[in-house]
Every structure is written in structure tokens, then in C-alpha cells.
């Protein structure tokens, strides 16, 4: 059993050491058992825990430890922010962040709010509430922690640092202007002394960028533009300066990291305008790509574009997962993505060399096939048109941002899929379309399922249909956790939190939460007990074995 250390400081030191590649690589591909210090647990994006106290043999005895229902009231909270005193009207927030767990405390967020909860009891230690100026409150992926400081982003694009112990604010910096419809959802990813953050936004044609900020003052260290500027590599994949400097490519989701190679892997967002490529002929680099960056400098080592010239909103923000294992009979360091465009990709993560592409849903109808470099070839006939173009999957994609999982024990990558159809109507026929440029009418799905793919072949090993309702198949992308106990935790699309047998998809245990889980489940050992923690809508649930 691998244990990082028993204090936040030790964890932080280990993370620092990770950047310097001092700690053996073996340790860094495994989530510590007594903490969950990053969005993914570790840097690999596998969301595989070595803890096996809860396993296929005893999971039937899993029971509720506690529930925390979000309390977003500013009364009793530590309040910061630049907005008005009255919160804007809106729907109750949904927990999309994966809580970090350090020293027996859970830290998680929804837009404008951060909480510290006691990981044993689910009771609140502190609550920080941000007075927002506005912006899209669609979601927040979580917080980052280094030493005694916590970092998070707000919908109105502030980078905020809090004291981990008390929740008191240290400082905040504006990183983008909401008048351009930027809004920030990303969870800061901390590598060494680099706090890596990204912006979001797709209502207007704006450029995406990733930043590293210094952890003390929050000042800019480097910025990587996700699309090139004139004269830079990749510029030839755009027709002109206007298109590339307004070309989108948002870094929505935290990436993964290989400390031995010192490379940060990021899946970039789709190009702008979203559903019309008329004003941006070309591949539109580095949108819809997996890119490898040096986290100290922000310089790109290699890229692989999973959707050249996207016209369907299929960002490549799905977590690129690091896999170490055999491929074609020899050991390799690899990276895999189950992509929103309906394809599974396997690459060599040292060089970016393409190894394998397969389709992970059957209904997709938008490509001319796979080209010689393993990329789906764009079919202009399946772009949005005035009289309507029937596409599958719909713009929400065959899968989406919810964290997938990879188990080294089974060799399987797990993720939720949808086989939806929709019609795209081109509404902006101008030579310079803007924003989305097209409307969508959703039709229905011919079958959504939880899938397990063998990374060596790209073939589906098992598939478990999600729940059905009066309109047919439900469910889809879902946050997952696999464990050395042979389990896979996720949701069934019908309001149940389920423990599946990771080897065959057979459900072994469930809790009828009544709401689908909305974040990535996580796990830790505390006082010798294994906890499974998951968010579903406005509540965070913890489960333990009945004693």
C-alpha cells in the first residue's frame, strides 16, 4: 500500500517532489490511500484506487455514513467578491467538483462557493461565498491546494486564494473579462510551484488560453494560447488572424501529468464559431486536441488533434488518461481518451505518436472515415445546413467531461456513452458567422450505455445499458471510480449510485439517491475505514461498510 504522508505539508512536498521527478514514478501513478490531493486523486487521470477494504465480496454491506446538503446561504459564511450583495436568481447548484481530501478534511466547490467538511462526519468546518458579478454558472470542477493555500476560479473569472485552515481569503485576481462571455469552471491543477488554470466560454468568438500563476501572489508566470497567432506554428491551419485569434479552444477541464517526462497533458475545446466552419477553413489547430506542455514554461512538446475542423461542439476536454502497459507486445507509456466525437484514441505519450483509433458508439454518422493518421475525417455534408442536418451524436456528444476511469487490474477504460440524434439548422448564413451560428433540435437516443474498452484493441469488452424512461434510453456521461477491490462506482442514469463488478459490469450494490451522481466519486481511508464519497445534485454522500 502506497502512502504519501499524513499531513497536508507532506502531500504538498510530494507534489513538489513530483515535479522534480525525485519520487519514484511508480508512486505517482497511484492515488494515496489516506488523502485525495488533486482533482483526479493523482496526476494520471485513472481514478483508480489501490484501497480494497470495500470489494466485490463485501460491497453489499456498504451503507450511508453521512449526507451533506449544500447550504449556500451567506449567513455564517466568509463572504468575498466584487458583485452585488443580493445573489442572482438561479437554479440550485449541482456538485460537479471532485472533493479533495487532506488531513481528514474535504474541500469542494460549486460556482461561487467553497466548503471545508469534516471527512468523518460530513459537517461543515467553513464555507466561503463569493459575491458574483454574473457569468455562466454552469459548473465548477473543484479546487486546488498547495501547502496552506486553496485556489479556485469563479464564473466571473476571478482566481481566488483562501487559507485552507480557516477559509479566509488571501487575494483574488481577474483573469478574463466577462463582457466577452468568458466564464471560468476549471479546477486549478498544481504541479510543483505552478498553479495551472484555464478559462472557458463559447457564446462569443473568443480565444482560449491556459495560464500558470505563482502560488504566493497569484501573478502570471506563463500563458499558452490554445490557438496560434500569425507566424506561429499551426497558424497555417487558419485562414487569417481574425479567425485564429477568435478561434475558441477552451481548456475547460484539468489535465494530467507525467512527472518523469515532465509533460502536462490537456484536452482542448472546440473551435469558434461553434457550428459553422465557413469563416475558418482548415484544421483549426490546436482546438479539439490532446496537447503535451512543459508545465514550467507552457511550451508545447507535441499535439494530436482528435477532431480536425470540428463543426459540432465536440470539444476534446475529456480527461486524457495515462496508461502504462504493453501495446503490440512491448511496454509503452501511453495516453488514452474516450472522446466526445464518438472515438477512442490511444497515443504514445512520450512522442504523441498515434497508436489506435476505434469507434465507441455505433450510431455516429458524421465522418468520411478514419484517415491515415487515425483522425476522423471531416464530412462537410454533415455540417449544419439551413434545411437541417441529422447528426449522431448530438452536440453534447457521445461522451462528455465527467471523469472516466482506467483500472490497471482489468486493463479496461470505463466511461458513459450516448447514441443521440439531433438536427442542426444553420441560422447564420453570413460569410462571417458568429457565436454558435446554428440551432439544434434534439430528437432522441437509440441507446446509452456504460462501456468498458480494452485499451490494447480499442474494442468494447462489456457494455451495460443505462436506465430507461418514457422517452427511451436515459443516462450518459458519468463520473467513475475504479478500485483494487474489483469495483467500478458510477451512476445508472436512473438516479441510482451503483457499484459494478469492474470485470463484467454486473451491478453488485446500489443506493437509490433519486438523482444521478453529478461528479467523479472518490475514496480514502480514515481511521482505518474506507469512505466512498460522491455528489448528486445538491448533496454530497459518503458510504462506508457496515460494522
Amino acid at each position: 500500500m502506497i502512502i504519501y504522508g499524513r499531513s497536508a505539508r507532506t502531500v504538498a512536498l510530494c507534489l513538489l517532489a513530483a515535479a522534480l521527478a525525485v519520487v519514484p514514478v511508480r508512486l505517482l501513478g497511484q492515488i494515496p490511500t489516506d488523502s485525495w490531493p488533486t482533482y483526479h486523486g493523482d496526476y494520471s487521470g485513472r481514478r483508480f484506487s489501490t484501497i480494497k477494504q470495500i470489494n466485490t465480496g463485501n460491497v453489499k454491506a456498504l451503507t450511508l455514513a453521512w449526507v451533506y446538503r449544500l447550504n449556500t446561504s451567506r449567513t455564517g459564511a466568509i463572504v468575498g467578491g466584487e458583485g452585488p450583495d443580493t445573489p442572482p436568481p438561479g437554479t440550485p447548484p449541482s456538485i460537479k467538483s471532485t472533493p479533495l481530501m487532506i488531513n481528514g478534511i474535504l474541500y469542494f466547490s460549486v460556482p461561487d462557493h467553497v466548503w471545508a467538511l469534516d471527512a468523518r462526519t460530513g459537517r461543515e468546518n467553513w464555507h466561503y461565498a463569493w459575491k458574483t458579478r454574473g457569468g455562466d454558472h454552469i459548473g465548477n470542477r473543484g479546487v486546488g491546494i498547495l501547502d496552506n493555500w486553496l485556489y479556485f476560479l469563479t464564473p466571473d473569472n476571478y482566481f481566488v486564494s483562501l487559507d485552507v485552515a480557516t477559509g479566509k481569503e488571501r487575494w483574488h485576481h481577474e483573469i478574463a473579462n466577462m463582457k466577452r462571455e468568458y466564464f471560468s469552471t476549471n479546477a486549478p491543477m498544481i504541479i510543483g510551484r505552478q498553479v495551472i488554470i484555464g478559462v472557458g466560454g463559447d457564446a462569443l468568438d473568443i480565444p482560449g488560453y491556459l495560464e500558470s500563476r505563482d502560488p504566493e501572489a497569484g501573478n502570471l508566470v506563463w500563458r499558452w494560447n490554445t490557438t496560434p497567432r500569425p507566424g506561429e506554428p499551426g497558424a497555417a491551419s487558419w485562414p487569417d488572424e481574425d479567425s485564429m485569434s477568435h478561434g475558441g479552444g477552451m481548456p475547460w477541464i484539468p489535465g494530467t501529468y507525467d512527472p518523469e517526462l515532465n509533460l502536462y497533458y490537456l484536452g482542448t475545446g472546440n473551435p469558434q464559431p461553434v457550428l459553422s466552419g465557413k469563416s475558418r477553413p482548415g484544421d483549426n489547430l490546436y482546438t479539439c486536441s490532446i496537447v503535451a506542455l512543459n508545465p514550467n514554461t507552457g511550451k508545447m512538446a507535441w499535439y494530436y488533434q482528435v477532431t480536425p475542423h470540428d463543426t459540432h461542439d465536440w470539444d476534446a476536454a475529456q480527461t486524457p488518461v495515462l496508461i502504462d502497459g504493453d501495446f503490440d507486445g512491448r511496454p509503452r507509456k501511453m495516453i488514452a481518451q474516450a472522446s466526445r466525437n464518438g472515438h477512442f484514441f490511444l497515443l504514445d505519450r512520450v512522442t504523441g505518436e498515434h497508436l489506435l483509433t476505434s469507434k465507441h458508439i455505433d450510431s455516429l454518422n458524421w465522418t468520411k472515415g478514419i484517415n491515415s493518421t487515425g483522425q476522423p475525417a471531416h464530412d462537410p455534408a454533415k455540417d449544419a445546413s439551413v434545411p437541417g442536418t441529422l447528426i449522431s451524436p448530438d452536440t453534447s456528444g457521445a461522451t462528455n467531461w465527467p471523469p472516466p476511469s482506467f483500472s490497471p487490474d482489468t486493463g479496461l477504460m470505463y466511461f458513459g456513452t450516448r447514441q443521440t440524434f439531433s438536427v442542426l439548422y444553420l441560422t447564420d448564413t453570413d460569410g462571417r458567422p458568429q457565436g454558435w451560428a446554428a440551432a439544434e433540435r434534439n430528437v432522441g437516443s437509440v441507446g446509452n450505455a456504460l462501456k468498458a474498452i480494452d485499451y490494447k484493441t480499442g474494442k468494447v469488452k462489456w457494455s451495460r445499458p443505462f436506465a430507461m424512461g418514457p422517452g427511451g434510453s436515459q443516462g450518459g456521461p458519468v463520473g467513475l471510480l475504479s478500485t483494487a477491490g474489483g469495483l467500478l462506482f458510477g451512476s445508472d442514469g436512473g438516479g441510482n449510485f451503483v457499484a459494478y463488478d469492474a470485470s463484467n459490469g454486473k451491478p453488485l450494490w446500489h443506493a437509490g439517491l433519486g438523482t444521478n451522481t453529478s461528479n467523479g466519486p472518490q475514496t480514502y481511508l480514515l481511521d482505518g475505514r474506507q469512505y466512498i464519497v460522491v455528489g448528486a445534485g445538491d448533496s454530497l454522500y459518503a458510504f462506508v461498510l457496515q460494522q
Partner: protein
């Protein structure tokens, strides 16, 4: 406050079965930083002014023209407040880049800003996008498809259930219902009945190990439970499931439409839409 929201959320769940899907863009949660321009007269005046004064370089819709940049993507315009920053800029211009100064009265600058901000808001809000004329197909070819390869005549007739269908729905709704006529078309301002009460709902028959089979609208089917709606009593009934017990057989009354989804070509879809639109 939270309680009110929770009640609303329940209503939404009942009304929209798809709400359980984990979606990247749940419409209800969407908020925008930009706000609409309410003074439509100012927007109109601003548009005329733009066409007359700025259109030659920046295009009649401000998206760029012969040499002038796209004003709807300009940060100067985006950061402007009611023409204040725009006015300051116009009073000076950018002569070194060929942008002359413009001596416009304050009111005209404000109108110009109103038009630009309105255009940007329209661009940014895809829920306001208007679907254009989609009836571009060949009605004759559509009729042939209806009676031939589409095998639509197996269940439908232009003189019976589809009589006057072209007058009943606007074209985009007609096309959507051609693909999958699930549920009733929602009347503006009304809350539709739950889908499982509708005859187009997926149905199921549950056969308990002892007792008679029960059929009804499918409310929910998971690995752990099945819940049906009985239209005659107006009540729901549920069974817990263990493996394949009790036996559940699902029937989708729209299975032919579902099977057709992967088979459609866009041309067939357009032709069929034109044909149905002609059935006035």
C-alpha cells in the same frame, strides 16, 4: 428559498424526462453576462447610422468589410458602456491605421452602441436564433419515399392521420415529429402532461412470479426497479428487480421511427418534410 427551488426541480423532472441526462449545457442553469438592449428604436437608428457611416469599411452588419475589422468581435466595443468608450474613440479615431475620426453627436454614438451591443447579444444567445426556411426539399420525391423506401404508408395515411398535418405544425416542428413524434407538441405557456401518460410513451409489461402481467407507460426501468403508469386508474405501480425477476418486456410504440433514425439521409428527410408540409 431552497425549498421553492426543490419543488420547481421536481416539476421539471416530471415534465422533461431527458433532464436526468448528464448534460454539458442544462438550459435552466445557463446564465449570460451580457444583457439585451431594450430600446429597439435606438437599435434601428443605430443600424441606419452604421450602414451609412461605417458600413463601407466594417460591413453593413458590422462584421467587417473592405479593410475594416469585425466590430462585433472588437474588445473596444464589447467593453463599451452605452457609447461612452466608443464616443471617446470615435472623437480621435486611429488615423495611422486608416480609421478617421468621426464627430458624431452623443445621441448618435449612443444609438450606434445600442445597435452593436444588440447585435453582439443576438450573436451570443443561441436560444434566440431563428430557424430559416427549411422547406427546400422535393415534395414529389418525398411522396415517393413515403410510399416506397420509407415504408411510412405501413402505419400512416395522408388522408387519415396525416390529413392537414402541414398546416398544423410549423416546418421545424413538423420535421422533428417526422423523425420522432414523441409526446404532444407543447402549447406555449402550458406545462405538458408527464410523458408516461402519453400514448407515444415507451411502455412495458411486468410479469410478477405470481400474478397476472401488468402493462403501462414506462415511468422508469433500472437494474433495481421498474415503475409503470396505469392510464385507466391514473396510478403508478412499482416492483423491485433482482436480475431478470420480475420479467419486464419493453415496447416502444415508435420503434419504427427509432429504427429509421440511423437510416435517414438528409435528402430523404428534406423531401419528406416538403411532402408533409404540402399536406395542408
Amino acid at each position: 428559498m431552497i425549498r421553492v427551488h426543490r419543488v420547481l426541480a421536481v416539476l421539471v423532472v416530471l415534465a422533461v424526462p431527458g433532464v436526468l441526462v448528464v448534460s454539458a449545457v442544462p438550459a435552466a442553469a445557463q446564465q449570460q453576462a451580457l444583457t439585451p438592449v431594450t430600446d429597439t428604436a435606438a437599435v434601428e437608428r443605430g443600424q441606419q447610422l452604421l450602414v451609412a457611416q461605417c458600413g463601407f469599411c466594417h460591413g453593413a452588419n458590422a462584421r467587417g468589410g473592405s479593410g475594416g475589422p469585425d466590430l462585433t468581435r472588437s474588445t473596444l466595443v464589447l467593453y463599451d458602456e452605452d457609447g461612452r468608450q466608443l464616443g471617446e474613440f470615435l472623437a480621435v479615431g486611429r488615423p495611422d491605421k486608416g480609421m478617421p475620426k468621426f464627430d458624431l453627436p452623443r445621441a448618435q454614438v449612443s444609438d450606434l452602441a445600442a445597435f452593436l451591443h444588440s447585435s453582439i447579444y443576438q450573436n451570443s444567445n443561441r436560444r434566440l436564433y431563428k430557424i430559416l426556411d427549411i422547406v427546400t426539399g422535393d415534395a414529389k420525391a418525398g411522396e415517393a419515399y413515403f410510399n416506397g423506401a420509407g415504408r411510412c404508408g405501413t402505419c400512416h395515411s395522408p388522408s387519415k392521420d396525416l390529413k392537414g398535418v402541414g398546416a398544423k405544425y410549423e416546418p421545424a416542428t413538423l420535421q422533428a415529429r417526422l423523425l420522432l413524434p414523441r409526446g404532444r407538441n407543447r402549447e406555449p405557456g402550458t406545462v405538458p402532461a408527464p410523458l408516461y401518460t402519453d400514448p407515444t410513451s415507451v411502455t412495458a409489461t411486468v410479469t410478477p412470479s405470481s400474478g397476472t402481467p401488468v402493462s403501462g407507460g414506462l415511468v422508469r426501468l433500472t437494474d433495481f426497479e421498474v415503475t409503470l403508469y396505469d392510464a385507466t386508474t391514473g396510478q403508478m405501480r412499482s416492483w423491485l428487480r433482482t436480475g431478470d425477476t420480475p420479467k419486464v418486456v419493453v415496447v416502444d410504440p415508435l420503434q419504427a421511427h427509432m429504427d429509421q433514425l440511423p437510416r435517414w439521409t438528409d435528402a430523404d428527410m428534406h423531401n419528406m418534410t416538403a411532402y408533409l408540409a404540402s399536406l395542408k
